[in-house]
Assembly symmetry: D2
Homo-oligomer: 339 residues x 4
């Protein structure tokens, strides 16, 4: 039994952390902080958690009584909290972008912030860094688009099959957070598809960082808001590195099977099968499908995840399970909610 705390528990990822952790048999939640909701019962903000006898607190980092702290705080805020938490002996899983870059100049370029407290963190994608995660005190939990985008293209980079990928992602609106804005006003989202930051989304840099570990791949990325609450579907378009490369759809599929056969949360579909968001809704699974190659040598791979689970809170708990030596899939192995 370990103690865990959630710093910044009033957003959607905070809500998901609570929803999942509350059923975890090895975990006791000792604090859920929210400056502006101090003393408010949790279910006033997260209405699905009615019945839970917990309130938000406003603890200072150093007073938090926990083995593991999840920081579900915004970019820029995490860097002010994480160092103190580490100093006071906590292990930290940070859900912001503050610790995802190994080269902090890339962070500063894409986030437009000076990084006040650079630290060595492990990028918390278990499919790449499982062993490092187990030994780390600071996990940078991956972004939602990078999770789906990297999983969809990792074998292409590892096998040096392509040198350019275009990731066209379609995301549910919950990725934009709990705070209302014109962009998320129902009449602006429903019956619409809204591309945004079409060449400038910072998650591009995160995907680039991970794919180039294996091969010099140029990443292009365009996200679109679709009228969906949860889920990211990413369509990866890429071209065979040269026209002479012989590669059948079946061979392509086998590379993915090989890569992910031991991964508990990545399901590789058959050639021609397409993932759907409802298959992974509310679950920590990533489904990967497509595996088609057209006459022009274009390779199409599709991935589907729940942005709040595999793309955020579920993956964070996966990281916690690894760090604490728990069963890797504990409390995050439920199936999705279809229909």
């Amino acid at each position: 039994m370990i103690k865990v705390a959630i710093v910044g528990g009033s957003g959607y990822t905070g809500g998901e952390l609570i929803r999942i952790l509350i059923n975890h048999p090895k975990v006791e939640i000792t604090a859920i902080t929210s400056r502006k909701n101090r003393n408010t019962p949790i279910h006033k903000i997260h209405p699905h958690l009615r019945g839970l006898k917990l309130k938000f607190t406003n603890l200072k980092s150093e007073s938090i009584d926990a083995n593991i702290v999840f920081t579900a705080t915004p970019h820029g805020a995490s860097m002010k909290i994480v160092p103190k938490l580490l100093e006071t002996g906590h292990k930290v899983i940070d859900l912001s972008g503050d610790y995802r870059f190994r080269d902090y100049s890339i962070y500063e370029k894409w986030y437009g912030l000076n990084h006040e407290a650079p630290l060595n963190a492990v990028y918390g994608l278990p499919e790449i860094y499982r062993e490092e995660i187990k030994k780390s005190n600071l996990i940078a939990n991956p972004g939602c688009f990078p999770t789906g985008g990297i999983l969809a293209t990792l074998p292409l980079s590892k096998e040096k099959i392509v040198d350019r990928v275009i990731l066209d992602s379609k995301t549910g609106v919950s990725g934009g957070g709990i705070k209302p804005s014109e962009s998320f006003h129902f009449p602006n989202i429903s019956e619409n598809v809204n591309p945004y930051k079409i060449t400038t989304h910072r998650h591009m840099a995160e995907i680039q960082q991970e794919l180039t570990e294996f091969h010099d791949v140029k990443v292009s990325f365009t996200p679109h808001l679709v009228p969906v609450i949860r889920g990211i579907l990413t369509t990866s378009h890429s071209f065979k590195i040269n026209d002479d490369l012989n590669l059948s759809c079946e061979e392509l599929h086998q590379l993915y099977e090989k890569e992910y056969s031991n991964e508990p949360f990545v399901k590789v579909l058959e050639v021609g099968e397409i993932p759907r968001l409802s298959s992974v809704r509310g679950s920590n699974y990533a489904h990967i499908g497509g595996f088609e190659i057209d006459e022009t040598g274009r390779i199409v791979i599709i991935s589907a995840i729940d942005n709040l689970v595999k793309g955020a809170s579920g993956q964070a708990i996966h990281n916690m399970n690894l760090m604490c030596g728990f069963k890797e899939t504990e409390s995050i192995n439920n199936f999705g909610l279809h229909p």
Copy 2:
């Protein structure tokens, strides 16, 4: 550890039974039948269950090796199967309408069928019949609208506060089942609200049966399809039995608190609080709120359930837990999926 089987496992309620039972620590699924999908892997029909190593079978009832059988079969089909299952020593939880009526002439009137095999069954709403359920071999699992409608109005009937209730229900489309039709064609549902069977829906008779156990209440019922996948929100309008009856909103609320305070799956909100579908999505909870009375003496109560869980498969498993002496909330006490 008990053995359970699902007869008719290819529909939405079948899928939900599997999704929940697969995590139940006291249960082993021994068979999932589907005549037309024999030998098909489960996940070809229920794509969220990918990873499950099970196939549909086409067993005869008498060959089913199980302590409990869930019959997720259509009206009219259950009555042909249930008697044989009982004769061969199975306990049965029937999700169709075939065994919900204590007076079979009402069944025949509303379903337009001769009932070939009337039997004594217990109406499987634990909030009314918990003790009877524990001892029964045949449970008639309630309809989705009746579950939400009865829970919203039970105290009004018990306390003889009203003698007429109008239930205006708004249901997600999954209540109509997995089979496509013009009514469920996306362009006909999206951006629309579709009332149907506005004075003739058979669930009216089921609600009537249960409420009149306590008081002579006339039930009016109109269902509406809304562009939502899961969930039923029921707005109950009723009028105080006479104008002189003194009843404040707080007193009204207390009647509900009293009725449901020990119920694990009914959450009574505060006066003026309104339930939302996302609070119960994917969960077995019913939320009840509103508790307002207007100047004309109209009482407004709102209930929200997930039609496939509390309105079908979750409630069926609740019944199983009761019949088998398991912890009542085992495997169905997860919170809803909000947002």
Copy 3:
């Protein structure tokens, strides 16, 4: 050719007024005001109007050069503008609630405001007040819910068939306006049904005012937000005034046929036919259907309108056509946008 101006043109009803008026052959738009968007091209706020060479202005009322002024201003704001507009010789069609009540004490009770400038206005529902509208200088354009609710129940009141009606309305989110808020945040609306002001919505008083002109009917009203952009579907539940009243569905239907046979914008469906929002989307038509009576004597009538057209801007232009002696249906007789 007349000159028209729109005061408060940056909201949804303002956008609809422009969209329709721009094609009206007898009308020239001389000003569209918006204090906060002064000098902004119209299409920056109303993106569908790209191509229109018009900008918002910030004129004082008295400087407006127009025969007819539409005030698409909020409650409380209209009462400060309308008197000046009338004094300076304009005819006014007010889309707010400020002039809808003949008894201003009812306005003050339900709107919680002192009325600074009570005036004689005509309630702009052409189906009741066509002749008065033609002669008036000040039209109070009806609310969206009242338009659908009154049309659904007018014959019941006129014929003294019922003495109580329950209106359970389901509205699209555009009725809440262009301004984002937590209530209209996509993840809170999608996959949800949100009842609100379940016994206290001010439109109740407006419906009450009109129905009691004919008979002493008590009105109960509960609105619900549904995940739809446009449209209001109202389900009217009422009970025959006494059990002995002989009334078949066909006779009920005939009362509606008689009432509306000459109305260009009210379509009476057949007995058992149900209106749908897409049939009236973007149009000025109201469809009325249902006409069923159940065993308990409950009468069910359903109406569907587009809240922004028949429920607001289209009806305002209908009023303008009547006031100016134009063809009554000019520029508002297009069919709805289905699917």
Copy 4:
């Protein structure tokens, strides 16, 4: 005044043709055929057209009394009807794919059919073939995806800026037609994004045909169903033909301005502005925006159309206006329906 007929009027494009033509001052509809709905009033199939006093007929082609015939018939059916219509003196605008290819072997490859009656037709995209359309007797009305895809990329091809384009399209469900199926079942579409025919959609060949008229561009195309009724948003990803090509976003934008400045139905947005479906919903406009270039030399252009109007029936009427010498924008110049 000309006479027009619609062959195959019971689908969505048939409904749109009627909705628009009914207001066209130079047109009289003389026949709307539907074999299976013979003698059925139009509004039983197209509920928004209630009030229209027309019925479906089942005329033979040769008996149709019309100057222009719209064939809104399926692929394979048009080729059996069109030759007879032409022989009997009708001008034909065919909405199927049967006459869109100048090289019939491409048709046969992608449609899997033998073409029984190849004829010389003009590809009915006015932005390319305006003059040819005016003189033709047979127009092949473009597909919905090709309309949006070609308009988004035409200047790139004409100016030889790219030699490869990837079109990632997101389409509303109405593009799939009026007939229900598992793919369009509400619970399968809502809260989902469904890529389909990810490398094999036949509209790819149509886009390829048109773009290669100007430059040897390889087209890749993947369509996705999104939970939207109407509209296609196409994201065009392409790469500058060589890294040395100097091209700013502003220069890119100017190429589009130049191309479309005289086009009545193409609106070129500013650099960085993104089209939205609601801006064009129900209208014949195409909005084109984006015009960004990222660090890898990727050019992103976004187009938005209403698939049933600019992508089908509205464009067909545009073609009719050109063929008949009417004002080009007659009856199709209304603005979109936002919100």
